[in-house]
């Protein structure tokens, strides 16, 4: 089993971070950046994140895996139909990639190819189901596989979204479809995280809380206006507005979120967006 799954099974508090593939074929910066991640259990490799076209997440994850980095391959339904998704998953397995984060994906409208036809042949629940099928040795139409992949499939959730019951019924479906861990959207509010974690108790699936390093009030407002599912509350905007050193304030806020996660969750997922050097300070 993957290192990530072992750590979670052993009740260790895991730390994940993420890296985006380059726009182009130059992998050197990404391979160098990943070395800066200190104390990280696994690294998510994003898949055309924000619907911006990049080198394939599978290619970078394969390279990282080969050089000894534990990866979590992100795979979205936006750019591939069910055949391509199955092919890519089988391919991923041959590179030793086990951890998956299976997503619907941001709409193409948000990215740099807004005229592209979004695929969404499957949704995230169906993608999880299909992955479970591959692990059981069958493709989506029930044909047996010659060589069976071994995955540790994860899913995403936005614990603060309303109506909560509606969000949670999808979480339950994802668990029924084989989600073995969750990584959450950025957390800014302890109460909604508590509500989510109590609802998760009967499902018994580990939750890795998303922690976003916000560098300034301007960035927070940009996120609110432009990133689906991210809503930085007014109280935090006020803190940034009052802060003399917004970066230090951002680190302090991230550190507080990490402390909630240490209490309530099974790990944190750090989104530092180019400020990986701040990771030790956030984890302090």
């Amino acid at each position: 089993m993957s290192y990530l799954s072992d750590q979670l099974a052993a009740g260790k508090f895991v730390v994940t971070a993420e890296i985006a593939p380059p726009k182009g074929t130059n992998l050197a910066p990404a391979l160098a950046d990943v070395k800066k991640f200190e104390g990280i259990t696994a690294v998510n490799v994003t898949d055309n994140q924000g619907a911006n076209m990049r080198l394939s997440s599978l290619a970078l994850a394969a390279q990282l895996q080969r050089t000894g980095t534990e990866t979590i391959l992100q795979l979205t339904c936006r750019d591939r139909n069910r055949m391509a998704l199955q092919s890519d998953l089988l391919g991923a397995a041959t590179f030793g990639i086990e951890n998956l984060l299976l997503l619907s994906g941001d709409h193409s409208k948000f990215g740099d190819h807004p005229d592209a036809r979004p695929v969404f042949d499957l949704d995230s629940v169906q993608l999880l189901d299909m992955t479970a099928g591959l692990m059981a040795g069958f493709d989506m139409v029930g044909q047996p596989l010659n060589g069976v992949p071994n995955f540790f499939p994860g899913a995403a959730v936005n614990p603060a979204a309303e109506p909560f019951e509606l969000i949670f019924q999808k979480v339950s479906k994802k668990v029924d479809s084989g989600a073995r861990f969750f990584q959450t959207q950025s957390i800014f509010d302890r109460a909604s995280l508590e509500r989510f974690m109590s609802a998760m108790v009967p499902l018994n699936v580990p939750v890795i809380a998303g922690v976003l390093l916000i560098r300034s009030g301007k960035m927070a407002r940009f996120l609110n206006d432009n990133i689906p599912g991210v809503q930085v509350p007014e109280s935090l905007l006020d803190r940034f507005d009052r802060a003399t050193d917004p970066m230090a304030e951002g680190i302090a806020i991230a550190r507080e979120t990490v402390s909630w996660a240490r209490e309530l969750c099974h790990g944190v997922h750090l989104m530092t967006l180019g400020h990986e050097d701040k990771i030790p300070a956030i984890l302090e």
Partner: protein, 224 residues
Amino acid sequence: MIISELKPLEELQQALSEFDKLFLVGCGACATVCKSGGEEEIFKLQEWLTEHDKDVTGSVVIDEACHIMRAARDLRHHKNAVQDADAVVVLACGSGIQSISSNIEKRVVGGLNSTFLGNVRRFGQYEEMCSLCGDCILNETAGICPVTTCAKGLLNGPCGGMEDGHCEIDPDIECAWRLIYERLQSQNRQGVFARRVPPKNWSQRRKPGRYSLRNSGRLKNGGR
């Protein structure tokens, strides 16, 4: 109803640049209702063409331009005017345009873009509610189609982009899954939430669609 809209005038002008004499065809059905290809629009098109030094040899608004045989019949009634023209300009949906182009040898220039199958909210306001997927799930979703009204066509609940019950691609649009959830709740039933919906059968929507009443499943007389 098929919603259609006039192509950008520059594009239309470009498409007509090599022709001097034109015959105009409108449609009495959808294009009349959404005011893109009825009597009034054909008249305006004629004025615009005249301003741009084109001759209009004649015009007709066909009852339903998508009806291939009827379109052929109506065009025959205007045989001479069609014959005199260098090309035929059609203000109808893509179906209508192809009824015309399949009936005559003349070059056909479509003047409209067809956008979606629309419900009429009120005059001049149209909304897409059905995308003709061929595999209808409405009975489980309280009569709200997620295939069409969810921007991603998801079948198992909302995506992570839902904010305050609204869609990530347009905050003015309510999340289809929130609407489905609320209506099912008000009906005291679980509906689609009772199961994991399997991947959609897109073979039902294989192109080009063909349908013949002869081979279709129908209720017999007397309801048997």
